[in-house]
């Protein structure tokens, strides 16, 4: 490679020197100084707690056992791999997340498509959609606890009335059914936000694309697959990432549904709830911090996974359109 190619291009006449004069450099520093409070707030709110959690996770910090907190290196992280309770919590989290993320996003897209159609009472339907979103999470938990109560819950009454069950089912007494109730309650809570996201995205899709596709003979399914989905791709990516994060950190509904225990038999103890129990019920702050850091790592990994998946989506872009235009 000739040496000349490594030489930076000359600065055209009239353009200011990179870095500017003294006055410009001073202004830049002044701008940085003005931004400093915001940066400090971000550091205080995010970097410090994360850093502190990381530091805590390298110590044996169990106040019930000892007031001395020795440095233990990666022992707490090592424990993650050998702890069956953590593995079980992770399995439950995967089950919970896969359903709430995939089914949640799919349902939200479906609802959004429905609510962007012209029909009578559409405005009312959109307002009603917001109701679950307006309910505070704890109230949501209490509400579903009452609905699925084995003796007095309305769920049994309705299902008995429809002839689906003969005798009352104790929804919250077995780990599997309690987890499914939890998924149901969470889906109910998350759907309005995701649906609103998709309604906003759908309103940005040019109507002439649908008209042109219709003229070309594309049916509703093909229009949905080759126009709607690719057009709201970035929103889908955002929804998947956000919902994945929420599903990993679900807490309040579990707490209220299970009386703060994550039961029955630990059946609703996801990794975030396990971190809570370890940190606050068992007071093992070091191990609890290691679990929290592992959750953060999982969130990052999942976000990266979704971004990579959406980077080269040969199956996702409008293949039909490309073929026709080629």
């Amino acid at each position: 490679m000739p040496a000349s190619t490594l030489t930076p291009p000359r600065r055209p006449r009239g353009l200011p020197r990179l870095g500017g004069g003294r006055a410009e450099r001073g202004d830049r520093r002044f701008n940085l100084l003005l931004m400093a409070p915001a940066v400090l707030v971000v550091l205080a709110l995010f970097a410090y707690p994360i850093g502190y959690a990381g530091w805590l996770s390298l110590h044996q910090w169990d106040d019930k056992i000892s007031p001395v907190h020795p440095y233990v290196g990666v022992d707490n992280y090592h424990q993650l791999f050998s702890d069956p309770a953590y593995r079980e919590a992770l399995d439950r989290t995967v089950y919970f997340s896969v359903i709430t993320v995939l089914a949640g996003v799919a349902l939200a897209i479906g609802l959004a498509v429905l609510l962007t159609q012209q029909f009578r009472f559409r405005a009312l339907a959109r307002v009603l959609l917001l109701v679950p979103w307006a309910v505070p999470p704890v109230v949501n938990g209490i509400m579903w606890h009452l609905i699925f109560d084995g003796d007095t819950g309305i769920a049994n009454t309705v299902l008995r009335g429809l002839g689906i069950i003969d005798t009352n089912k104790q929804w919250l007494s077995s780990p599997t059914s309690a987890m499914n109730v939890l998924i149901f309650a969470e889906m109910w809570k998350l759907l309005p936000f995701l649906t609103l996201l998709f309604i906003a995205a759908l309103q940005g899709v040019p109507a002439n694309l649908y008209r042109a596709a219709s003229i070309d003979g594309a049916g509703a399914i093909r229009r949905f697959a080759f126009i709607t989905l690719p057009s709201i791709r970035t929103t889908i990516l955002f929804a998947l990432i956000v919902q994945s994060m929420w599903s990993l950190k679900v807490f309040d509904t579990i707490y209220v549904l299970t009386g703060g225990s994550g039961g029955p038999a630990g059946g609703t103890t996801t990794i975030n709830f396990f971190a809570y129990l370890t940190t606050f019920s068992n007071l093992d702050r070091g191990y609890g911090a290691a679990i929290a850091i592992s959750i953060m790592a999982l969130v990052l990994l999942i976000a990266v996974f979704w971004m990579l998946l959406f980077r080269a989506p040969s199956w996702f872009v409008a293949r039909g359109t490309r073929r026709r235009t080629a």
Partner: protein, 445 residues
């Protein structure tokens, strides 16, 4: 020209770089000075036992669970009047939430509350951690029941004073007994009697028996009760878990049979997370027999419920022993980071006085904490179950409060619930829990 004038205007309205720097520096310095002057002064955490003093005054803040209404509805006001000490805040929180809240409070060496609610497990856990103020023997009023004092003590150190005494008692619905052809005034004396009565009583939407197995502590208590009735124990003298002994396995097996084989236990028992829900179930006539805390009685005899004539109470039916029960006494302790421990101790002592204790009996249904009141005629006539407690106290009443209580109970209750659901055998469930408990307890040595 317009651009120039704008620039000039903004130069005047915004501070110059130098003045902004000077202002920022000043603010940082001021914040630093404020931080230096306000923080870093940890309160005294002396372990010297606290004795009463006559000079107690000032104000205190109390964090209680939501079991008792009498404090908020009169006792606090009378305490203020009688002692001159101001109660700045009397706050109640859900029992299920309180442990974690207190642990966080203590970990942060927070002095927001001077007095906190405690019981056997927390006295051990928080006391051992150095978060509760030890009390001198001179601070303990005469005649406090040993079982009640045990709930606020650990390892020979008294960390508080009891607010009420409690032990699980058998309650039965006399009307349902009569309807099933059973003698309404005769309590089942043995476990077999209890099971056969429960079978007779089950039917038509009513279950012979109901329990609160829905959360970790509930599952543990229900197992512990049968374990004690079977002559078993949780730990040996060296704190080795022995709840998986033959007696323990048989105890859990009996509990499982009630639900799965005999089908006399209400299936909703597995999702009842609070003893107050059990109170309601019994008071509504949906369960004929329950083993519950004394507060069951006032709920059952309240207007619109079963009424006094329909509620029977007696000691728990034994298996290998005549009877045994679980202690549920609660009390108050002093936050070791409190800034006004002398006044806090005044509150603890005030709660044990006869006037407050009688009100507790009359309005809440809990047992009094002193032996003299336990024999007091006005108390026994007001609350017939006090006589049952006197009878009960002749047998073993245990709780096994320990610093590792919550960790072990978590593991054990998971096994118990799995066994109840038929997902594992009682033996496998208890063996696994005992292994885990051994690992947990080993950390405390």
């Amino acid at each position: 020209m317009a651009h120039h004038s704008q620039h000039t205007q903004s130069s005047h309205s915004l501070p110059s770089r130098r003045s902004a720097l000077a202002l920022g520096g000043g603010l940082v310095a001021a914040a630093g000075l404020t931080a230096c002057s306000g923080g870093g002064t940890a309160s005294s955490t002396s372990a010297t036992p606290l004795a009463p003093t006559s000079s107690a005054g000032g104000s205190i803040r109390i964090l209680d669970d939501n079991t008792n209404k009498i404090f908020g509805s009169g006792v606090v006001a009378r305490f203020e009047k009688d002692t001159g000490i101001k109660v700045e805040k009397y706050e109640q929180a859900n029992f299920n939430d309180l442990h974690d809240r207190l642990a966080t409070l203590f970990s942060a060496q927070d002095s927001s509350y001077d007095v906190v609610m405690t019981w056997a497990a927390w006295s051990a856990e928080f006391g051992r951690a150095g978060w509760l103020q030890p009390l001198s023997q001179s601070a303990v009023p005469a005649g406090v029941l040993p079982a009640a004092l045990d709930a606020v003590s650990y390892g020979g150190t008294v960390y508080g004073l009891p607010k009420f005494a409690s032990a699980q008692t058998m309650f039965w619905n006399k009307d349902l007994f009569e309807k099933a052809g059973l003698a309404p005034d005769t309590a089942p004396a043995t476990w077999d009697d209890f099971v056969s009565a429960a079978k007779e009583l089950t039917g038509g939407g009513v279950y012979g028996y109901a329990a609160d197995l829905g959360n970790t502590d509930g599952a543990y208590q229900n197992f512990l009760r049968v374990l004690l009735l079977n002559g078993g124990t949780m730990y040996d003298s060296a704190n080795k878990p022995v709840f998986n002994s033959d007696k323990g396995v048989d105890a859990l097996d009996r509990l499982v049979k009630l639900l799965r084989t005999d089908k006399v236990m209400s299936p909703s028992s597995l999702q009842i997370t609070n003893s107050s829900d059990l109170n309601t179930l019994f008071a509504n006539g949906k369960a004929a027999i329950v083993f519950n805390w004394p507060a069951q009685y006032p709920v059952a005899v309240a207007k619109g419920a079963l009424g006094k004539a329909a509620v029977g109470s007696g000691i728990l039916p034994g298996i290998a022993v005549r009877s045994a029960s679980i202690d549920g006494s609660e009390g108050f302790a002093i936050n070791n980071y409190s800034k006004n421990k002398a006044a806090a101790l005044k509150w603890l002592q005030y709660v044990t006085t006869a006037a407050v204790q009688k009100q507790m009996v009359q309005e809440e249904g809990w047992f009094p904490v002193t032996s003299s009141l336990l024999q007091d005629k006005t108390v026994t006539s007001e609350l017939p179950i006090v006589s049952t407690y006197l009878q009960e106290s002749r047998y073993q009443i245990k709780r096994f409060g320990a610093p590792w209580y919550s960790d072990v109970v978590q593991q054990l209750s998971t096994g118990i619930t799995k066994a109840m659901l038929g997902q594992t055998t009682p033996k496998k469930a208890l063996d696994a829990a005992a292994d885990q408990a051994s690992t947990i307890i080993a950390k405390y040595k």
